[in-house]
């Protein structure tokens, strides 16, 4: 039962987000119906107004907002997220786009976590103080450089000047795996640098705290080697707090890949989001937001469940 409550709140959070997004989206200026109807100079303003009213009715925009939300929710739960202007299904479009974003997010975590862990572990060892300071400052610098600047610099360096990697684009992994890898490298590095920095600082701090506990002092007194102390005792205890950071960073990555996607033409959900806001494509907009939010909330819920399973203290609570 304890493990179930996080999932319940997941639904609650998603519902809340859906409502808020809906509310804000209806506040967007520029009537969607007006835009769809277009200029229509050939009509008198009266005729045009009729057309706009008809379009508004067709789109369901003449209903009060809460009712519109209920209708949307009803359809969404059944899997119908609406139809895009061009005729394609919104659900399909968003699904197509969220996968590349998720790929970048997961790959980033897969690279950053071990990297940060290695650096942090080395930094807390006795006699590695210089390494720790250098690593610490380097990671801070890696964090404060704006991601979009970093990305552009990589493009200039690796694509234009050196010609080693393509400047932008996306190839499906299934069809051209090598090309896919060549194109994921730069966006990945751009995301990995600040993410590793964050994880590194946090892990180092956790490790320091863990190393200072009574538990560790006992282990050392027992005569365990430094390495054993570190890897067998301190590290697992430091891991648990890292889980919380993981959740937040994942969320940041999902929302934050927008810039990286834009620089490298990576077909992720961020680009679709911006597009749908500018085109006032209501259905796509909501679907994008929900997809991103759902991914984040699911991830943090899973983390919370893992936390509860692993940490005996919390399980009892």
């Amino acid at each position: 039962m304890r493990l179930l409550t996080p999932f319940l709140s997941l639904v609650g959070v998603l519902l809340a987000i859906a409502m808020i997004t809906f509310a804000i989206a209806t506040a967007l200026p520029g009537d969607t119906a007006e835009i769809r109807v277009g200029k229509r100079d050939d009509l008198t303003s009266g005729q045009r107004a009729e057309l706009v009213a008809a379009e508004r009715e067709r789109l369901g925009l003449d209903q009060p907002v809460p009712w519109q939300f209920v209708i949307w929710l009803e359809k969404a739960v059944q899997g119908d997220l609406g139809v895009q202007e061009g005729g394609g299904s919104v659900g399909k479009a968003v699904l197509e786009r969220i996968i590349p974003s998720l790929e970048l997010a997961f790959l980033t975590l897969a690279v950053s976590l071990p990297l940060a862990a290695l650096l942090a572990l080395r930094s807390v060892r006795r006699g590695k103080r210089v390494f720790s300071v250098v690593a610490g400052q380097l990671s801070t610098v890696g964090f404060v450089v704006p991601q979009f600047w970093l990305g552009i610099l990589f493009v200039i360096f690796f694509a234009v000047l050196l010609g080693w990697l393509p400047a932008s684009g996306y190839e499906s992994f299934r069809e051209l795996p090598v090309e896919h890898v060549r194109r994921v490298i730069m966006p990945l590095i751009t995301l990995v640098i600040p993410t590793t920095a964050v994880f590194f600082h946090f892990m180092r701090q956790s490790l320091r705290e863990a190393l200072g506990t009574q538990y560790i002092r006992t282990a050392r007194a027992k005569g365990l080697s430094e390495t054993a102390v570190l890897y067998q005792h301190a590290f697992p205890n430091a891991l648990l707090p890292s889980l919380t950071v993981l959740g937040v960073q994942f969320g940041q990555l999902l929302g934050g890949v927008v810039v990286v996607e834009r620089i490298f033409n990576w077909p992720g959900v961020g680009g679709l989001l911006i597009y749908s806001v500018e085109r006032q494509d209501f259905s796509t907009l909501i679907a994008c937001v929900m997809a991103i939010a759902a991914a984040y909330v699911l991830m943090s819920t899973l983390i919370e469940v893992a936390y509860r399973m692993v940490d005996p203290r919390i399980r009892r609570a």
Partner: protein, 294 residues
């Protein structure tokens, strides 16, 4: 100034921030020209008249950087401070009181954290139009949850402490307790969180400018200047270095200040320093304050 002595991080951090603070306060005095006047040909080389040369329209780069300092610092500090005030007050209150309000506050922060950050900015810009205030608003909302959670956690753990209980027993109301006991102990870590968040908001504001959601032209901002420089990088590559360097330096300054304050707090051994895992420590403050958005 004992907190400054032997605190090299704080010293360097403040040193890095100082020139920009001055530039932000009295841009008219420091900048040789107006940021919008066309003073010479585009991309004029650095010279005695234009220390950093001119930009793509022929405006003095240095003057634009100086005025941009005002914009960027205003946005980053403004958003941070307001978010801190709101987040901390609600957090302390609900954390101390506990109960339903506290649980609700936590859920609300969940929702706010799950909301794609960029979307909020996009929405606001779409509804109201790009401006400094909009960026500040969007960023503010982004970082309130972090402060709220931090303050809430701090209140929740501090309220069990002896000195708080003693105060309550002797009849102190919650406002008194919060003001006199919780807040002073929270100040240390709070300042750490504030300067850290200021770094985040600066970077986030630059990113929003890059996406075209920031200050409308021709008002300068570092992010906007950096973005513009990309269009000319193969013509004049030096142009983009200056705004980029400004962003990096100020963000670095904020971070060093935050680390410095943290060291000072730990040295002082206040009750706030001993509070557990919600304590921000350098970049690991991202747990409390939300990380680098976008």
């Amino acid at each position: 100034m004992s907190w400054l002595r032997h605190n090299i991080r704080l010293q360097i951090g403040l040193l890095l921030l100082a020139p920009f603070a001055i530039a932000a306060l009295i841009p008219g005095v420091i900048a040789p020209y107006s940021p919008t006047d066309l003073v010479d040909v585009p991309f004029a080389a650095p010279s005695g008249d234009y220390w950093l040369g001119t930009d793509e329209l022929g405006r003095d780069v240095l003057s634009r950087l100086v005025y941009a300092a005002r914009t960027d610092l205003k946005i980053s500090l403004g958003a941070t401070l307001i978010a801190a005030v709101i987040g901390v007050s609600i957090g302390l209150l609900t954390g101390y009181r506990g109960g339903a309000a506290s649980a609700v506050a936590l859920r609300v922060t969940d929702v706010m954290l799950a909301f794609p950050s960029i979307l909020l900015a996009l929405f606001l810009v779409a509804v109201i139009g790009p401006s400094d205030t909009i960026v500040m608003l969007a960023l503010m909302i982004l970082y309130i949850p972090g402060f709220l959670r931090f303050a809430r956690g701090m209140a929740m753990s501090l309220r069990e402490r002896a000195f708080v209980e003693a105060s309550v027993i002797s009849g102190a109301g919650s406002r008194y307790v919060i003001w006199r006991h919780l807040l002073p102990n929270a100040i240390g870590p709070l300042l750490v969180g504030i300067s850290l968040t200021a770094a985040y908001t600066l970077l986030a504001a630059a990113t929003l400018s890059y996406l075209g959601l920031g200050t409308p032209p021709p008002a300068p901002s570092w992010g906007g200047m950096l973005q513009a420089s990309f269009n000319y990088v193969f013509q004049d590559w030096r142009y983009g270095i200056w705004p980029g360097l400004c962003i990096v330096t100020v963000a670095l300054g904020y971070m060093l200040v935050s680390e410095g304050i943290e060291v000072a707090v730990q040295r002082s051994g206040s009750a706030g320093a001993a509070v557990g895992s919600v304590e921000p420590t350098g970049l690991s403050g991202s747990t409390a304050t939300g990380g680098q958005a976008t």
